[in-house]
Symmetry: C3
Subunit: 202 residues, 3 copies
């Protein structure tokens, strides 16, 4: 089940990367590259930082085939998909929650400190989008506004706290993913923002 | 022979990085940095993703000395080199083909899946230029237009197909490199482009 | 002593990253991210390139707690800290020297070639600031002007030269750090710059 969800997360992130590349005027190769980095960038950063070799998509190339298929669908069905804004936002929130918690679980299995687990999980969820934005010359969205990474952080913290109760790990995992999705969608619905600080120019 | 060709590829890519840095107004240090990332960025990304340690230029620092020499030549001979536009384009196409195929061969030796070989080889050929563009604040050229990475992909696919015939591996290697060079130069000569897709803004 | 100095270096770089993020209008999460990448980006790049696992802050999460504390201080005390311009410049120069030399020493322990030691040490000192600038959409400052990385390079070369004399390694280490600090502060005071080369547009 987890593996299937993971592939769905990869497909959704690939579609979102391909659409962003299209909007930014990149060519077919650029679209495939942005689809791929959005989909597997976060997990790749996680594997490199935790020293896990081979990287997950080198070990299991199924992820790459899913990205190719998702890119083809995004290119051929761009007009149709762009009308699916709400479903895409929900799918993206689900992908965020899933990647963040699966990244956290991998760091947990390696017995890292809680703060390392939170950091690793959050990076797994958001680093793909950051690399996508850097490659297409945009200041990464998630640094500027929005409850996005913050939803991932909150969900992973909840997961770690739930481990201290009698709740089963698998339930804690599912509850945490759903709380990321809920927090993300509420933040979109109510335009929640984190504060900024206009520090005096030194 | 391969090692010498590899050093030539590094030198050519270093010169192209140094010239780009010069054009963009960077100082002497910036020029050396862009020369280095252009020349060894692709191979470094390949070694990190495949978990090959030490990274190739840590193991053999000759690559770094070649980069220093190429940077010095580029800085001192900038006026002269800039007039060599056509030879530089040919050399760059040769470097692309050589890096892409040698990267593919390394992934092949580690027994990775064909799609991983194509991806690794292509990254070896183009990632240096991508990092160069990101560092100098430019949207990576290869994402926007041109048959560049596509030539590398086609060459690596040809190499993998030729393995299925009775052709010797070394011949397949050379034919594939030449086909990358030919495809790249034809694309320049005839301004071939990949299609873009102006997706409707969601 | 070295470990304490290292933590101070991390704290200073985190504050400088947080202030830069504030100035650039990022939100609270963006501030924390830029504080973190500025503080541990250089060491992370070093560990990945040298194949040292686990990465230093995965092994010892104390670095991450220091970053969180430094970010909180930077956000709450932004007005006050911005007035500390000169102390911050001195602290940053000290951080640069310390990171560069400790990075060089780590590469030296792994018995790498001198040019690899210089490169690794310099990257440890400056890569965090480069990633900070890329993430916030700015062409990395150090590529454009200033004696910054150059001070690190000079200090590491001095360290390697002093090893050939009868001076104790620990003394060479301290002298080299101080020379980085001195060179950096003199460069600021006298506006020393490296030359640029306006190469003719090809």
């Amino acid at each position: 089940v987890l593996y299937v969800l993971d592939l769905i997360g990869v497909a959704v992130f690939a579609v979102s990367g391909a659409l962003a590349a299209s909007h930014r005027g990149l060519d077919l190769f650029g679209i495939a590259v942005l689809a791929a980095v959005t989909a597997i960038g976060g997990g790749t950063v996680r594997d490199l930082l935790l020293g896990r070799h081979p990287v997950f998509w080198v070990k299991n190339p199924m992820y790459l085939y899913v990205i190719l298929a998702a890119t083809a669908i995004a290119v051929l069905g761009a007009t149709y998909i762009a009308n699916l804004e709400t479903p895409l936002l929900v799918a993206d929130a689900l992908g965020l929650g899933l990647f963040a918690l699966s990244g956290a679980q991998i760091a947990e299995q390696d017995h890292h400190a809680p703060i390392v687990i939170v950091l690793t999980g959050t990076m797994t969820g958001v680093a793909g989008g950051v690399v996508r934005d850097i490659l297409s010359g945009v200041v990464p969205l998630l640094l500027r506004r929005d409850i996005y990474a913050t939803a991932a952080i909150a969900g992973i913290c909840l997961y770690l706290l739930l481990q201290k109760t009698r709740i089963k790990r698998s339930w804690a995992f599912i509850i945490a993913i759903l709380s990321v999705v809920a927090l993300r969608l509420l933040a979109i619905a109510f335009s929640w923002q984190l504060p900024t600080f206009a520090a005096p120019q030194g």
